[in-house]
């Protein structure tokens, strides 16, 4: 019987390997296959790479895992012998760490229309591909019921009027929470610690992740907090995904406090150790071309880094323009992040 079990295991293994091999080989015969390493929620429009493959003969596969922090930890550990050729989605809160770990082979795309403002943040190492803002969102109807005006700044949130109204994901465990903390530091570099002490004393609720904040504590989803730290893209999503659908032309049920918006910029880069550097650069040029960029708002809920890319209608109609977002240079974030987090943990924890 032992032999039967052994035979079974061997059969199992060989089936597995033959499937694994066939998976790789049929694409490789046509030419180069590039691998994009991305975070879990990278869901590009289906078939978006087909035209690229037809034009260039370069096939594309995506491997994904975890969140941005997990992706970067793995990239740092495998720097020089990477899991793929191109990395999608390291952001300005983590770029400094990625550069320190020597993850990238420098390349900045020169595609027409790419925002020079965003390129300036990329340390001549990577190419900005999209951006989004992390802002306080509010439930319009609930605030009206309570008879409270929406807040206009970080300072407003510490007022007694807003006591017990705000929920945020933890800066320690959530990239959204971290962006909110960084925003408060940019807004008031001297006194942000006091702001957070006041927020804490004003009955701030800190939860583990964005999901708990938005779907369990936020008043729009049955919680009792009408203010939540989320994204500038959340109000258009509330319109697009409304069930039952909102009447044509109705305003979004939520809105953002633009003065609290911290800009998160995401980058794409060539992973150092890739054996297809030229092809990888071609792919990066495609990712920042208008063809790809115009599909991003609705498939990834981010805004194009290419200024020539048009926004889809729902987006254009329901996005509040964030004219002066809070921005912070990746180097500063890299050098001060851990210290700030420890201080924040002291205050809020």
């Amino acid at each position: 019987m032992r032999s039967r079990i052994a035979a079974l295991s061997i059969a199992g293994l060989s089936v597995a390997t033959s499937l694994a091999c066939s998976g790789g080989s049929d694409t490789e015969t046509d030419g180069v296959t590039l691998t994009i390493v991305a975070y879990e929620s990278f869901t590009p429009l289906e078939g978006i790479f087909d035209d690229f493959t037809n034009d260039t003969g370069i096939a594309v596969r995506v491997i994904a895992a975890g969140d941005t922090g997990e992706m970067l930890a793995k990239a740092a550990l495998t720097a020089g012998n990477p899991e793929g050729d191109v990395m999608w989605g390291v952001d300005n809160t983590l770029l400094g760490r990625a550069i320190e770990a020597d993850v990238f082979d420098p390349y900045v795309s020169r595609v027409d229309g790419l925002s020079s403002e965003l390129v300036a943040t990329a340390a001549d190492t990577v190419t900005p591909v999209d951006y989004g803002d992390v802002c306080v969102n509010y439930d319009i109807e609930r605030l009206e019921t309570l008879g409270i005006e929406p807040p206009n700044s970080f300072a407003d949130l510490t007022e007694p009027e807003y006591r017990g109204l705000l929920v945020t994901p933890s800066a320690l465990t959530s990239s959204t929470g971290l962006a909110f903390l960084l925003g408060s530091i940019v807004a008031d570099p001297e006194n942000w610690r006091d702001t957070w002490r006041d927020l804490r004393d004003n009955d701030l609720l800190v939860v583990d992740g964005w999901y708990e904040a938005y779907y369990t504590a936020f008043s729009r989803y049955g919680g009792d907090r009408p203010l939540v730290v989320s994204y500038a893209s959340s109000p258009p999503a509330e319109v697009l995904y409304a069930d039952p659908p909102l009447p044509e032309g109705a305003p979004a049920p939520t809105a953002v406090v633009t003065a609290t918006c911290f800009r998160q910029i995401e980058y794409v880069g060539v992973l150092r150790g890739s054996r297809h550097v030229t092809e990888a650069r071609t792919l990066i040029d495609f990712l920042v071309s208008t063809t790809f960029q115009e599909t991003m708002p609705e498939s990834l809920f981010v805004f194009p880094a290419n200024e020539r890319a048009a926004l889809p209608r729902t987006f254009a109609a329901h996005v509040q323009p964030v004219t002066s977002p809070l921005v912070m240079d990746p180097d500063t974030i890299a050098s001060s992040r851990d210290g700030w987090l420890e201080e924040w943990d002291e205050i809020v924890g």
């Binding site: 019987m1 295991s9 289906e46 491997i63 895992a65 009792d224 995904y241 409304a242 069930d243």
Partner: protein, 521 residues
């Protein structure tokens, strides 16, 4: 049982034990050690313990583990007694239902659970303990009920007629007979709580377990040496505990109800009903929640799930995801069950400790294993990074401890003389195994298949951390959908969670049906 004169016979045990041993070695032990060798320096080895948060994590881990385990075991005794002392229609389905929370990903159960907790409950120790009880009580029921059912009621009756009270009868007759099962249940529940990750992150407030701290060090603070030190320490402590607590004759996770049915007792009926109600409440609230939006009933999420409508950013290809999840579950089961049975057979044949070694995955940190696999298998021809089969293989490793704890105790109870008689009559060892062991452990194997399928279907932590290409499973899809804003994102995510709930329940119920072949021993 075996003739030691024959060299082949002496090799039989080790050969049977080898696949499981190698699998755990290759997938858990070597990667974690490799990560340690690559990163740990003397600074981390001694310094990590004094870093902020570690002291709190250590004490919180010990405190929540002790409390969660004691409360789970004590509360689990009541349904274990009820399910072992009366026969009610749907009895096995009841058992399956109580097991479902153990199998579901935290994002599903935790969120459903969070919705039912009163808003006034502060995040911290209390909700963590409650959630641990909810998730792990199935371990206690499934471990203790089958043993309790085998205790001869005449023993208690005799004690009572000699003048012993109920309490005295329980402590002097029942408890000693239950003790091995109790120890086993306590050990497994303790393990699950000590290495708890999702529940603690979601409900623990600013508290962390060591498992959470490994994650924080590795991912947030760029402190791999510290993370690896903690992970290896955790692995060593887990191994020591396994060896000192668990004996191989202890029973875990078997199906109850194979013994004579007792008379119906209203109290037992009541306890069972309460247990099922408490277990099902969060699950039912999830089903309802996936069908309601803005105070109305809706099928919006379900339509998106089953391809009835289309929405950018919410494409869920259930027609591909569900078969793929099931395929992974079958591959994982095809690996875990044969290896588990082989290991169990080896353990029964000889005095090997391999069955206990294979419980080590229970105590391993998922992040450390994930990072370790990444640097261990990174060079051709062993560059496995991104390979699809890593997912079912990892699921198999996670399921293996439970397969062994199901099969091995049953196999150990087969009287040795049955095999001796068969051997004396001229049967080869393989034939003895096929004609004596297999029929007697068939039910246990079926239960193991169900558990293994359910574990694979619901596995999230390790799957999420593995780099994968086009291998999204249901829990991954759920997590992704629930990461977006908007009614339809929530409805579709919860709908997918309900699909997972139903598939898991079906797998557990359909494999727990009794064929009543167990009669001897």
């Amino acid at each position: 049982m075996k003739s030691s004169a024959e060299p082949l016979a002496r090799l039989r045990g080790p050969l049977l034990a080898a696949p499981g041993f190698l699998l755990v070695l290759a997938s858990i032990v070597i990667p974690v050690i490799a990560l340690g060798l690559r990163t740990i320096d003397s600074d981390a080895l001694f310094g990590v313990w004094s870093r902020p948060g570690i002291g709190d994590a250590l004490s919180f881990t010990l405190l929540e583990t002790a409390l969660s385990t004691v409360v789970t075991v004590l509360l689990g005794l009541a349904p274990a007694w009820a399910l072992s002392h009366h026969s009610m229609p749907g009895h096995r389905s009841a058992l399956a239902v109580t097991t479902v929370p153990f199998m579901m990903p935290t994002v599903v159960v935790g969120a459903a659970f969070l919705g039912l907790l009163p808003d006034s409950i502060e995040r911290g120790l209390t909700p963590v303990v409650i959630a641990h009880v909810y998730v792990n009580v199935a371990v206690v029921i499934r471990t203790i009920a089958p043993v309790w059912a085998t205790i001869d009621p005449l023993l208690s009756a005799a004690a009572r007629s000699l003048g012993a009270g109920r309490v005295r009868t329980f402590t002097t007759i029942t408890l000693p007979l239950l003790r091995p099962a109790l120890t086993s249940a306590t050990a497994i529940v303790g393990f699950m709580c000590a290495t708890s990750y999702g529940v603690v992150r979601m409900l623990g407030g600013n508290h962390a377990t060591i498992e959470v701290e490994v994650y924080r060090r590795a991912i947030l603070f760029d402190d791999l040496p510290g993370a690896a030190t903690l992970a290896i320490t955790q692995l060593i402590v887990a191994a020591v505990c396994l060896f000192s607590w668990l004996r191989k004759d202890r029973v875990v996770f078997t199906d109850s109800s194979h013994r004579s049915r007792r008379r119906d007792r209203p109290l037992a009926r009541l306890v069972t009903a309460i247990t099922i109600a408490l277990t099902a409440l969060p699950l039912i609230s999830l089903v309802v929640s996936s069908l309601r939006s803005r105070g109305r009933w809706t099928l919006g999420g379900w339509r998106l799930l089953f391809g009835g409508s289309n929405m950018p950013g919410l494409q869920v290809d259930l027609a591909h995801v569900l078969p793929r999840s099931l395929l992974f579950a079958l591959v994982a089961t095809a690996i875990a069950v044969p290896i588990g049975v082989a290991t169990s057979t080896a353990a029964v044949m000889g005095r090997t400790v391999v069955d206990r070694i294979l419980l080590i995955p229970l105590g391993a940190s998922a992040v450390a294993v994930g990072l370790g696999i990444l640097i261990t298998y990174d060079t051709a021809p062993f560059d496995f990074r991104g390979a699809w089969w890593l997912v079912p293989v990892v699921h198999a490793v996670v399921a293996l401890p439970f397969v062994i704890r199901v099969v091995q105790p049953v196999q150990a109870r087969i009287p040795g003389r049955l095999r001796s008689v068969a051997a004396t009559l001229g049967a080869s060892p393989a034939r003895v195994w096929a004609t004596i062991d297999v029929p007697l452990i068939a039910r246990a194997i079926r239960t193991a298949i169900g558990l293994s399928i359910a574990i694979s279907l619901g596995e999230f932590g390790a799957t999420s951390f593995l780099s994968r290409s086009d291998t999204d499973t249901l829990p991954i899809i759920i997590e992704r959908l629930l990461g977006r804003s908007g009614d339809l994102a929530r409805l579709t995510g919860q709908g997918a969670a309900v699909v997972l709930l139903f598939v898991t329940t079906f797998a557990l119920i359909s494999t727990s049906r009794s064929d009543r072949t167990w009669g001897s021993s």
